[in-house]
């Protein structure tokens, strides 16, 4: 017990003595844990609001499309076999059949598709959509589904045309019977059936739900485009059996039987597609952020190895063994990781409502998603792993160094890389210096390459997203904004900012560490005749040279990442000049970030430095 306290005390004292480094470490891991928390918070969100909507609207357990019998001279009606569905075993109530009409909706220059259901003006026992504005259907007055209305930009009182006829928007409502715009047609085993009048082609994502009175809906039908289906909504005695019910009754293959049955779990799933999208964006984002955090921590923990050696030497001289030394180093970083986990959880929890207001269509805001113990546990575990992975190598090395060497050495002596030395001879002076400087600490250079690769991967993935979104919008004839795309774009922005912040942190820390390590070597170079400008350029080059392969590698990786995360079946390749701009921008930023510490380090007269340090 006493030993643990000793370790804790030593670690705490060390953190106090190196506040800046501790703060930077904390920042890096917190960034990663915040993004991770956000990602995890989304997981619990989806089912919750749907349940609320279902309860509030008496949502049905099964929704079925019944084919229409067209007999010349008679009104279209439901086939008797289909109608028998309402009397099937397990059904305790039903609503409908409602006429279901496909209409082209136009409003203020926008064109969209509307699935118009004819409903009674009085509320029914099953599926009574809940109004969020205005009033229910009336002759000449239609009610539009909430997210559809948002996308169109209509409000109560506006006038829209359906198949050429003008209607007033009487109200706006939500329902649990169908997924909200733009996922209306994405119910599994459901989907949209029906053609639009005059063969107008409208993509599935541009179709939304609208309610009208029965006669109004019927009036939208033309002889050329007769009524396609009736909708019936069922309540079952045992809602849990909904999927089994659907399976049982879908087996009848003949045309007269019911088709396109959807059970409420499937609707709930489609309902959650928006949030699923967001998660698809957040998870890779969190991964990239975590990788960058590892890189930052590794640089910060491994930088100034001299300090470490000295510290551990003193520890050992004071009587601790290698175990104690490693324990203190690890304890320091684990303490910081725990603090970062807590900070990240807090930040993520505070930011989550902004992201998880789960699409406009679902009733009520779930509020801040509850921080489950599982989430907290996972985030903490990740933070600890990040700290562990990054500091393992320095800790082990520190533990194995002998005391005398640790006290005497300035730092680990650099390894000789004959190939790089030979190559550097042919380069102009700044590159010569830069390559040799980078070669002295190849592991750090590799870390730099990885870090820039991660950043560029993120940037290119974002670019791919924007290209895909653009293609998407172009394909959407009606000009309606896709809320999923909008939302994804917002989340990507946040992630991009986090990635860039982490990269800047990384680059500055690495550059500073390099400049410090290179102090004696650059003083010698100046004593031998290199100008301060050449030396600064060299130190900056030592940072930029590893960044080049990293940035280049990030391009294909980013494209692949987007392809994997976005479920688009093909590779989306951004235009070449976008990619070139991204790569060059990253490299320019690397050079700029590196040159400040480089310039600062090259100013002092060489004499002072050479007196103090061995090269």
């Amino acid at each position: 017990m006493g030993k643990l306290m000793l370790i804790g005390r030593l670690a705490a004292r060390d953190i106090r003595r190196h506040r800046a480094r501790a703060a930077l470490l904390l920042l890096a891991i917190t960034a990663a844990t915040s993004v991770l928390t956000l990602g995890l918070a989304l997981r619990g969100v989806t089912s919750h609001p749907y349940q609320q909507t279902r309860a509030a609207t008496n949502g049905p357990d099964v929704v079925a499309y019944l084919p229409v019998l067209h007999q010349p001279g008679h009104r279209p009606e439901v086939s008797p076999e289909a109608a028998a569905l309402t009397r099937a075993a397990g059904v305790t109530g039903h609503a409908g059949p409602f006429p279901d009409v496909w209409a082209v909706l136009r409003f203020h220059g926008l064109t969209a598709g509307a699935e118009v259901q004819g409903r009674a003006e009085a509320p029914g026992p099953v599926d009574q959509p809940e109004l969020t504005a205005g009033s229910w259907v009336r002759p000449g007055g239609v009610v539009i589904e909430r997210s559809f209305a948002e996308a169109l930009g209509v409000g109560v009182g506006d006038r829209v045309t359906l198949n050429g006829r003008t209607f007033t928007v009487a109200g706006i409502a939500v329902t649990a019977a169908r997924p909200p715009y733009p996922n209306l047609c994405y119910v599994n085993a459901g989907g949209c059936m029906g053609d639009f009048p005059s063969g107008t082609q409208i993509p599935a994502r541009d179709i939304g739900l609208t309610w009208a009175t029965g006669p109004d809906a019927a009036g939208l039908v033309t002889p050329a485009d007769p009524l396609a289906a009736y909708v019936v909504e069922l309540r079952l005695r045992d809602p849990a059996q909904a999927q089994a019910f659907v399976t049982a009754h879908s087996e009848s293959q003949d045309n007269a039987g019911p088709s396109n049955l959807a059970a409420w779990p499937g609707i709930a799933a489609a309902d959650g597609l928006l949030v699923q999208d967001e998660q698809d964006v957040l998870s890779p984002g969190a991964l990239l952020a975590a990788l960058l955090a590892v890189a930052s921590v590794a640089v910060l923990a491994g930088g100034r190895m001299a300090e470490h050696s000295q510290r551990t030497g003193l520890l050992k001289a004071a009587g601790g063994g290698p175990g104690l030394v490693a324990a203190v180093l690890l304890a320091e970083n684990l303490i910081l990781a725990l603090a970062a986990a807590a900070a990240g959880l807090l930040a993520g929890w505070l930011a989550a409502p902004l992201i998880t207001s789960p699409g406009a269509a679902l009733v009520g805001t779930p509020g801040a998603p509850s921080l489950t113990v599982a989430t907290a546990g996972e985030v903490t575990a990740v933070a600890l792993v990040v700290a562990l992975v990054a500091t393992l190598v320095p800790a082990v090395r520190a533990a194995r160094i002998s005391t005398v060497r640790a006290l005497a050495d300035v730092a680990r002596p650099p390894r000789r890389r004959p190939g790089l030395i030979a190559v550097s001879r042919r380069l102009p002076v700044p590159l010569l210096l830069g390559l040799r400087l980078a070669a002295r600490r190849l592991r750090r250079a590799a870390l730099s390459t990885a870090s820039f690769a991660v950043t560029t991967t993120g940037l290119v993935a974002v670019l791919s997203f924007h290209v895909a979104a653009g293609q998407y919008q172009a394909a959407s004839a009606g000009g309606l904004p896709d809320p999923a795309v909008t939302r994804d774009g917002q989340i990507l922005l946040v992630i991009t900012v986090v990635l860039i912040a982490l990269t800047v942190l990384n680059a500055v820390c690495a550059a500073w560490t390099t400049a410090l390590d290179a102090r004696a070597a650059s003083a010698l170079a100046r004593a031998l005749g290199a100008t301060p400008r050449q030396v600064s350029a060299g130190i900056a080059a030592a940072q930029v040279m590893p960044a080049v392969p990293g940035a280049l590698l990030g391009v294909p990786l980013g494209i692949e990442l987007f392809a994997a995360a976005s479920h688009i079946g093909r590779l989306v390749v951004p235009p070449t000049w976008w990619l070139a701009a991204a790569v060059l921008g990253v490299l320019a930023a690397a050079a700029a970030l590196a040159s400040i510490p480089a310039w600062a380090g090259a100013r002092r007269p060489p004499a002072d430095i050479l007196q103090a340090e061995a090269v």
């Binding site: 650099p414 030395i421 002076v429 170079a525 004593a527 031998l528 100008t531 007269p605 050479l610 090269v615």
Partner: protein
């Protein structure tokens, strides 16, 4: 820039000339006068040794003369050109072309072989790699380390390392070689090797300014300057023979 040449004692232009050289640190109560009004003339081919107790400012003086540090006051001329007011770039060129420096701690790059260390100033000066390598190899031969060209400093003895450092200082065929306690870290045999080298450089006409504790080096200089508290207190030319002989020194009755 003032280009007027100042004639030296021998009638020709001295290679190096300093007037009123000062280097101060701090101020008021904490003012340290590391170098306090030094005047110096060094003729071509001369070997000058500067001795003095630690802290007397001799290393600082050398750094000032070699452009590694800036003086607080005073003027320095190198081959008739004023050099104390030069900008950083011109100073760097000076160090590349006119001045060679040898340090007590050798300051060789640990990860470069002997020949790679020696060719470094040439590469920094923009010479082609081949030319720089050729010159470096030649200089290593000059200092007697041709067979050690491919060795890392860790594999060389102290004396050998210093000789590599001296070779490096000679790359640009400098006007003057400045050596700061070159034998400070060496045992007596290594010191002898370095002494031999300095002797042969002197014979070849190289101008040397050596700051040293070591009376052996001081004894073989043309001129011996004693320094204390930042200024010269004594200048000696050790001319003439001795009253005794080597025999008497060795303890044989003369």
């Amino acid at each position: 820039m003032n280009e007027t040449a100042v004639p030296g004692a021998a009638g020709g232009t001295p290679v190096l000339r300093a007037r009123g050289l000062r280097k101060h640190y701090g101020k008021d109560a904490a003012l340290v006068r590391a170098v306090d009004g030094v005047d110096l003339d060094v003729d071509a081919g001369e070997t000058v040794a500067v001795t003095g107790p630690s802290g007397c400012g001799k290393s600082t003086l050398l750094h000032l003369l070699g452009g590694l540090d800036r003086s607080s006051a005073g003027e320095i001329w190198l081959a008739g050109r004023r050099v104390d007011q030069l900008g950083e770039r011109a100073l760097a060129r000076l160090r590349r072309e006119a001045v060679g420096f040898v340090f007590q701690a050798f300051h060789l790059m640990d990860e470069l072989t002997a020949v790679e260390n020696v060719e470094l100033p040439g590469l920094l000066a923009g010479q082609s790699p081949r030319a720089a390598r050729r010159r470096a190899a030649g200089l290593l031969e000059r200092v007697g380390l041709a067979d050690r060209a491919g060795f890392l400093p860790a594999a060389l003895s102290g004396g050998q390392r210093q000789r590599v450092a001296i070779a490096r200082a000679l790359v640009a065929d400098p006007l003057v070689v400045l050596a700061d306690e070159p034998t400070g870290n060496l045992d007596s045999e290594a010191t002898l090797d370095v002494l031999r080298l300095f002797d042969s450089l002197h014979a070849a006409g190289q101008t040397l300014i050596i700051v040293t504790h070591d009376s052996r080096i001081a004894a073989t200089a043309d001129r011996l300057i004693s320094m204390r508290d930042g200024d010269f207190v004594d200048q000696t030319r050790l001319t003439g023979g001795t009253t005794g002989s080597l025999g008497t020194l060795a303890g044989l009755e003369g």
